[in-house]
């Protein structure tokens, strides 16, 4: 890899698990050997283009700072962080809902009626926006993982979390009581790199979009 290598930030976790197979066999496929190792900077099948594997919450920072020229990240993360970067395409895959979830039998009206509502979430910004729209107030309990446990153990009355199939919710006896928004994978770009070198970045961005939208 050289100093002029173009870096694309790919997410680890749920989105990354969907992304890597989609790129298999394409010019932007990630090197299989490197993927098996603990290396976080992975060559692709295209010389001069490499991938960084990053946690979703860190990824927008790498792109906004111009360390990575392009990146793929969920729109839920983008909305929470509000970083200064370009969002070139909705890639369609990784679709899920941002939902208010509570134990079976708890309704939205019963949550509304609580004098002191406590909501546990990884998405305080989206939750606050929804509370404002609904004219509600609540104490937000910030969590970074395993939010499903919060209502079961009395940490909160309900949670606001991403729901894809609903399997995790069902396994914990939770149900969706309201949908706050939708999320999907987005192709993002560093503002400076894209605007100052569109001839270098745009073809790669178009290629990524075409490859990832094929089966979305």
């Amino acid at each position: 890899m050289t100093a002029s290598t173009l870096l694309i930030a790919f997410p680890k976790g749920r989105l990354g698990d969907e992304l890597v197979p989609k790129l298999a066999g394409t010019p932007l496929a990630l090197d299989a050997q490197a993927l098996k190792s603990r290396v976080l900077r992975i060559p692709t099948a295209t010389p001069g283009v490499a991938a960084l594997l990053l946690k979703g919450a860190d990824l927008p920072r790498y792109v906004a700072a111009g360390v990575a020229s392009l990146g793929i990240v969920g729109s839920d993360t983008l909305d929470e962080m509000d970083m200064d970067l370009l969002e070139l395409a909705d890639l369609g895959f990784g679709a899920c809902r941002l939902s208010l979830c509570a134990q079976e039998g708890v309704t939205l009206d019963s949550l509304r009626a609580k004098p002191h509502l406590r909501l546990a979430t990884k998405f305080p910004r989206a939750t606050e926006a929804w509370l404002t729209r609904e004219g509600l107030t609540a104490e937000l309990v910030p969590l970074s993982s395993s939010a499903e446990l919060a209502p079961l153990l009395g940490l909160a009355d309900a949670i606001v979390d991403l729901v894809q199939t609903g399997g995790t919710l069902r396994a914990h006896g939770l149900v969706e009581t309201a949908v706050l928004g939708h999320s999907s994978a987005r192709l993002v770009a560093a503002r400076g790199a894209y605007l100052s070198e569109p001839g270098r970045l745009r073809p790669l961005a178009d290629q990524l979009t075409a490859l990832l939208r094929r089966e979305a």
Binding site: G66, L86, A89, R186, A189, A190, G192, Y194, S196
Partner: protein
């Protein structure tokens, strides 16, 4: 152990010398075109915004100068019955950064072209663009890109559709991200959604040379924006024949940065591979009328702090010093 606070970077020998040299070169360039220096006070006492560095001077809340254009506008509106037509400035501004890696203290050089309301502004806009085109050479930048935009390309369609407040802000934020799909999301269910989404697609379809203006033909607001298109076309015809060899001119129809401030053509200077624009400006005809003066103005600001960072991180972008 001494701590170097990243938000208040100290300039050591080479950087300090470079700053002095660049300031002198740019102020010399501006003075040669008739721009006279004004130096507004470092401490401001009026309309202090959130991001300013505020402190108490006795019982009075004051702030360090956060923006030269605002400081100069106050000075000119208070002290001049008729404005000097060309002014220049150099020095530091202090404001809390939007991005965590930006410095609070930023060095700038800039200029403003001020006219009585109602005068034709085409020539002033081209004059400023010509000056900005000379900046890369004065700074020793090997190559640069000048983006030409126009604030009305977004504002007028929004006004024509009666969009304001949060909805208009949402559309502008989506365009700033260059995300036409976000425009559709923001306007879902609005009667103008399909028209404004098509307009966004047209604005974002190209980022290239003069041919980019043709993309406006695909917009549902092409007729409404005919005047702006002609204005940009005239500017391009004036600028392209005198474009320096190391400068590329691009039309950026979707430039919405500072849309609440700018009212007409906008200019942004980039270097290939730079993460931030190195100079920016445009026409802001509402500034002086809001201060009770019937004047119109345009100007630009060269962000020397960003250039100093760029010289440290990408020395290959600059000509070697003699």
């Amino acid at each position: 152990m001494p701590v170097r606070t990243p938000h208040f970077p100290d300039l050591l020998f080479d950087s300090a010398a470079r700053l002095r040299r660049w300031e002198a070169a740019l102020m010399g360039l501006l003075a040669a075109q008739g721009y006279r220096e004004l130096h507004p006070s470092l401490v401001l006492r009026e309309s202090l915004p959130e991001g300013a560095l505020r402190f108490f001077d006795g019982d009075d809340l004051v702030a360090l100068r956060w923006d030269f254009t605002v400081a100069l506008a106050g000075l000119l509106a208070r002290g001049f019955a008729a404005p000097p037509d060309r002014v220049a400035y150099a020095g530091a501004v202090f404001r809390r950064p939007v991005q965590p890696w930006e410095a609070v203290e930023r060095f700038e050089v800039g200029c403003e072209r001020i006219q009585p309301e109602g005068e034709r502004s085409d020539e002033a806009d081209v004059e400023l663009a010509c000056l900005l085109m000379a900046i890369p050479g004065a700074l020793g930048l090997k190559n640069a890109i000048l983006h030409l935009g126009h604030a009305a390309l977004v504002r007028r369609p929004l006004e024509a559709e009666g969009l304001s407040g949060g909805l208009a802000d949402g559309v502008v934020a989506a365009l700033s991200r260059r995300a036409p799909h976000r425009v559709r999301e923001v306007l879902k269910g609005h009667p103008a959604a399909s028209r404004l989404a098509a307009h966004a697609e047209a604005l974002l379809s190209e980022l290239d040379g003069p041919g980019t203006l043709d993309a406006l033909g695909a917009s549902p607001y092409a007729h409404l924006l005919e005047g702006e298109r002609e204005h940009m076309d005239r500017a391009l015809k004036a600028l392209l024949p005198i474009l320096p060899a190391n400068l590329e001119l691009r039309v950026d129809l979707a430039d919405v940065a500072g849309l609440g401030f700018y009212t007409g053509p906008t200019l942004r200077l980039w270097a290939p591979g730079a993460q931030q624009e190195l100079a920016a400006g445009g026409r802001y005809d509402r500034l002086f009328p809001d201060l009770g003066r019937p004047w119109q103005a345009a100007g630009f600001c060269v962000r020397l702090s960003r250039l100093l960072d760029l010289a440290e991180t990408r020395p290959d972008l600059f000509e070697p010093l003699p």
